[in-house]
């Protein structure tokens, strides 16, 4: 009896200590590298969720959340793994919001996160290779972005509706580009279209006229550029316009940013594209919440908010910031049943969870986790109209 009392007293002390803790979350994104123009607002999005939770004072009895940023470089697996190692071992983060590009995300997951048992929620890694059907990730990996297998199907639908049956495809030579190009080719051919060429391009070259020469030779009604806007993708589009090889393009998510509009404007009039996005009320609420502090509509920024929010809500549901405990709860808080939670309502959600209730986190991107923990996916279809990126519709 005495022992039990002592143990519970010690437990209470520990719990007391835990309640005052400052929980650190890692934000690993490519602040340098091929998507560096996207990442600042992604990090801001994630940190907005952390601030909202800290300010509410309701997480695990008043814990606060601090963000620790690190650079994934998007392309260098060794640098990204080292950054993640540092966050986990010396900063002691309890979860990672990231990484961004599929290659480095896989590297961090396999080399660092699984070994240390830390949860990762990526807002933007979309390679089909990251769908862990057989629990290779020990249930530690989640993503608020859909797999590219899904994006390939959506792309096919967009192009088919435009009446385009023959396309040339070029992709950036890495996990993201290859995964997306292959899944698109499979979906497009299954739907009766034909892909004249499916060729890789390397990032960081000064001149893409040779690549474009091959693409032009193969021909097609439209060129699908599965690349990065800050890198080879823009180079390919520039060379294709200059040589008159193609004048309309189709852009997947890596190409769509304000930079695309700035680089080409009305030279790519009539081009189409899609990137993850939604017209659910969550998106508007997120924009209102953000106000003018950063660009809330930039790709993957709402996903980043949701990724950070999911980690924190799962901690509350599990009553612990221990990754081994809260990893089980991420699917529960993300999906029905329960009360729907939109951006700006994290405080309310924490209350419900503390009271033992159930929530269905909708967030900024209508989060619905399927399979081994990845978003089912909503896409915003865009068209270049009058030199501007305009929303065609959501699907």
């Amino acid at each position: 009896m005495k022992k039990l009392l002592l143990a519970s007293a010690a437990g209470a002390l520990l719990a007391g200590a835990a309640s005052a803790e400052e929980i650190k979350l890692g934000v690993i994104l490519g602040f340098t590298g091929p998507i560096e123009s996207l990442t600042p607002s992604m990090a801001d999005g994630a940190e907005l969720a952390m601030k909202e939770v800290s300010d509410s004072g309701k997480l695990l009895g008043g814990s606060t959340v601090a963000s620790v940023r690190a650079d994934s470089t998007c392309v260098d697996a060794a640098a990204a793994s080292a950054a993640a190692e540092r966050l986990i071992t010396s900063e002691g983060v309890k979860g990672i919001m990231g990484a961004d590009c599929s290659g480095v995300t896989g590297a961090i997951l396999n080399n660092v996160a699984v070994a240390n048992g830390v949860v990762m929620v990526s807002p933007s890694a979309t390679s089909p290779g990251l769908s862990h059907a057989n629990n290779e990730d020990n249930g530690l990996f989640f993503r608020t972005a859909p797999s590219d297998a899904r994006q390939g199907v959506v792309m096919t639908e967009v192009l088919m509706e435009e009446g385009i049956k023959e396309v040339a495809v070029t992709y950036t030579n890495n996990d993201y580009g290859k995964g997306l190009a292959d899944s698109f080719q499979a979906a497009f051919e299954a739907a009766g279209g034909s892909v004249t060429i499916n060729a890789a391009h390397e990032d960081g070259k000064a001149d893409y006229s040779a690549e474009v020469g091959a693409l032009a030779s193969a021909g097609g009604d439209r060129l699908v550029v599965a690349g990065y806007v800050d890198q080879g993708g823009s180079g390919i589009v520039r060379a294709a316009i200059d040589t008159g090889a193609f004048d309309t393009f189709h852009f997947p998510d890596g190409m769509i940013s304000a930079k695309l509009q700035e680089n080409f404007g009305d030279e790519i009039e009539g081009s189409t594209g899609q990137h993850p996005g939604t017209d659910s009320p969550g998106a508007t609420k997120f924009s209102e919440l953000v106000g003018d502090s950063f660009d809330a509509t930039s790709p993957f920024t709402p996903e980043s908010y949701d990724a950070a929010a999911l980690i924190l809500l799962a901690m509350q549901a599990a009553g612990s910031s221990d990754p081994a405990a809260y990893k089980e709860k991420i699917m529960d808080v993300a999906n029905a049943p329960g009360e729907q939670i939109f951006p700006g309502e994290l405080g309310k959600a924490l209350d419900i969870l503390a009271g033992g209730g159930d929530i269905d986190y909708v967030g900024a991107t209508a989060v619905e986790l399927i399979g081994s923990g990845e978003s089912a996916g909503n896409y915003r279809q865009i068209v270049i109209d009058g030199g501007k990126i305009e929303t065609a519709k959501y699907r």
């Binding site: 960081g204 040779a210 193969a218």
Partner: protein
Amino acid sequence: MDLLNALVALSNFVIIPAIAYGSQLALGALGVTLIYGILRFSNFAHGDTMAFGAMLAVLITWLLQSMGVSFGPLPTALLALPFAILGTMALVLLTDRVVYRFYREQKAKPVILVIVSMGVMFIMNGLVRFIIGPNDQRFSDGERFIISVREFKALTGLKEGLAIKTTQGITVVVAVICVALLFWFLNRTRTGKSMRAYSDNEDLALLSGINPERVVMYTWLIVAALATTAGVLYGLDKSFKPFVYFQLLLPIFAAAIVGGLGSPLGAIAGGFVIAFSEVTITYAWKKVLKYAMPESLEPSSLVQLLSTDYKFAVSFVILIVVLLFKPTGLFKGNSV
């Protein structure tokens, strides 16, 4: 059969880009070959000298643009070019004074000078990245096209379009002017003649009273001008990125060796040989052949010998073949 369209497609994707690229390589290879002929070593720092010169031109262009100076339809970078050349001349004279002269006085073997030039390369490489950063920089302005695809199609009514970029036109014109000036200088002026004499036979040249330090200085000055011009033209035509110049070193050396090291004429020929082989071997010929062949023979595949990823491999292979079978190059230069 539609030979006209075939010809236009061929010019648009092969001939015009290869001529522009070949001119840029030729200017680069001329610098390498001059150093080899007169200073007797392979200058690995040449690519980064080009990057340094181009970087100066970019910075000066930005300065001119911010002052509202422009060159009409031509890129402002052409106005910046003379200043950039002066800056690069100062840099190479400084490296010669601080680094190379020491080894020259030691009568160091060429292979030691090659290693020394690699050291210089890394320092210049770091210097450029330190000043302007490793990223892409855009500095071209003015008219983009001499003739664009749309204009060409409207003008001729052909199915295929042809585009000639202003930068491609400028590249060829500037390269021709540079080469003409260089040959006039080497063949007609006293200094040029003394440089050639020094290159042919060092001892004899010294005996006849030629001042070696003067020859070396003029060589560096000319090399700096050539390197900067090549660097700026490449940057204008493609885009300025420091690392790309380092990668250019391979095709430039291939061009110089194929032509025959030490032979200026060979460097120019080598530049075009390398450029045309790189482009034609990695080009997918389907489009051209579709126009040029009778319908029954039309190819269904891409007819691409090598994927474009292997562009640099082409210059490697040519380099090896030349070294194996004709080590002195096409124009009887020195063997390596």
